[in-house]
Symmetry: C2
C-alpha cells in the first residue's frame, strides 16, 4: 500500500530504510466517495494527502459561482498549502471527482518529516516548488490568456486525465460557460 | 553592506561563519533608478535579489492593461519564482518604484546555498513558503473579495509602505480605477 508513496518521494530525495518505516506510521489510509470533500472552504486545512487512486478538483467561490482552478490525480499530493502554512481558514474547497484512495497525514507529521528525515527539508522545498509553479501559472493565466490558450494549456498539462473530467469543470477551469467551450473545441477540431 | 542580508537569513536559519563569507561572494551589489526594471516580461528570470533599500512592484499585463499584484520593500527578497523554477520566459515585470539598492545573485548560486549550507534547503523551503502564501492570497482574493476588502487587506499587509506607493498602483492592486479607490477611501474615512 505504501510503495507508491515511497516511489513518489524517492523521485525527489533518497529515503533510508528507517525513514520508510516512519512514513508508514505517519500516513494513514482514507477513502473518499465521488463528491466527498477532502477540504471545505471555511475550515482550516490541517492535512496533506497522497493520492493512491482517484481524481480531485480544487475550486474557489467568487460571486456565488464555483471556479475550478486545478486538478490532482493519483501519485500527486493534495493540500491547501496557503491555509496549511498560514493557519487561516481555507478559501478553497477540494472535492473528489471520483472515488479516491488516499494516504493522509497531519501538517505536524509533515513537519516531522522536514526535521527528522535526512533530506526532509529538500523534499519540502521540491514539493512546494511543484505546487507553486502549477498554481501561479493557472491563476496568472486567467488575467493574460484567451480562453482558447487556456484550453490548450489544459490539454497539455492534463492530457492523461482530460477524459475523466466532466466538461463543465473543464469549462470552469478555462473560465468560460460550457457552450463556449464546445465552440472552442469545434474551432480546434476536437 | 551584507549585514542586512545576513540578518534576514538568520531570522530563518543558523549561519556558520564560513557560510557568511560565502554569502559575500555569491551576492553582488546592483543599483536601480526609479522606473528601472529588475525583470521584464518575456525574459527568463535568472536572478534573486535581496532589497537593501527601496521599493519595487510586480505586475502582469492582461488585455494591454497593467495589473500590479504585489510590492516588495527593503529586507525582502525579490524574484519571479515561477520563471526561475520553470526556466520559462517570465509573464511578469518587476519595476523599481524608488531608487533601489540590491544584492543580486544567480539562481545557480542560490542552488549552491541549498546544497552547501547546512540549513540551505530549510532556507529555500521557508523563503518559498512566505512568497507562496503572499502571492496566492492576492491572486485568489481577486476572485473572491470586494474591492473594499482588498483595500483593507492592502492597508493591513503594506501598512509601513502605503505612503510610498502612488495611488494609481494601489488602485491597480485593489483592481479598480483610481476614482473608485478614492470613493472607497472616503467611505472608510481615510
Amino acid at each position: 500500500m505504501y510503495e507508491q508513496l515511497e516511489d513518489a518521494i524517492q523521485r525527489l530525495i533518497y529515503l533510508k530504510p528507517e525513514e520508510k518505516l516512519l512514513l508508514r506510521q505517519l500516513f494513514v489510509p482514507k477513502y473518499l466517495e465521488k463528491g466527498d470533500y477532502f477540504l471545505r472552504a471555511g475550515e482550516p486545512c490541517q492535512h496533506v494527502a497522497f493520492i493512491q487512486q482517484g481524481l480531485l478538483r480544487y475550486y474557489l467561490l467568487g460571486d456565488g459561482e464555483e471556479f475550478t482552478y486545478s486538478f490532482a490525480k493519483e501519485h500527486n499530493f493534495v493540500s491547501d498549502y496557503e491555509s496549511l502554512l498560514s493557519s487561516q481558514p481555507s478559501k478553497k474547497s477540494i472535492q473528489a471527482l471520483e472515488s479516491c484512495s488516499l494516504l493522509v497525514t497531519t501538517y505536524e507529521n509533515f513537519q516531522l518529516i522536514y526535521q527528522q528525515f535526512e533530506e526532509g527539508e529538500r523534499l519540502g522545498r521540491l514539493l512546494l516548488e511543484t505546487v507553486f509553479v502549477k498554481i501561479i501559472q493557472q491563476l496568472t493565466s486567467l488575467y493574460q490568456d484567451s480562453p482558447e490558450e487556456r484550453y490548450k494549456f489544459f490539454l497539455e498539462h492534463f492530457s492523461e486525465i482530460q477524459q475523466r473530467i466532466p466538461q463543465y469543470y473543464v469549462a470552469s477551469y478555462v473560465g468560460v460557460k460550457p457552450q463556449s467551450l464546445s465552440r472552442i473545441r469545434r474551432r480546434l477540431g476536437i
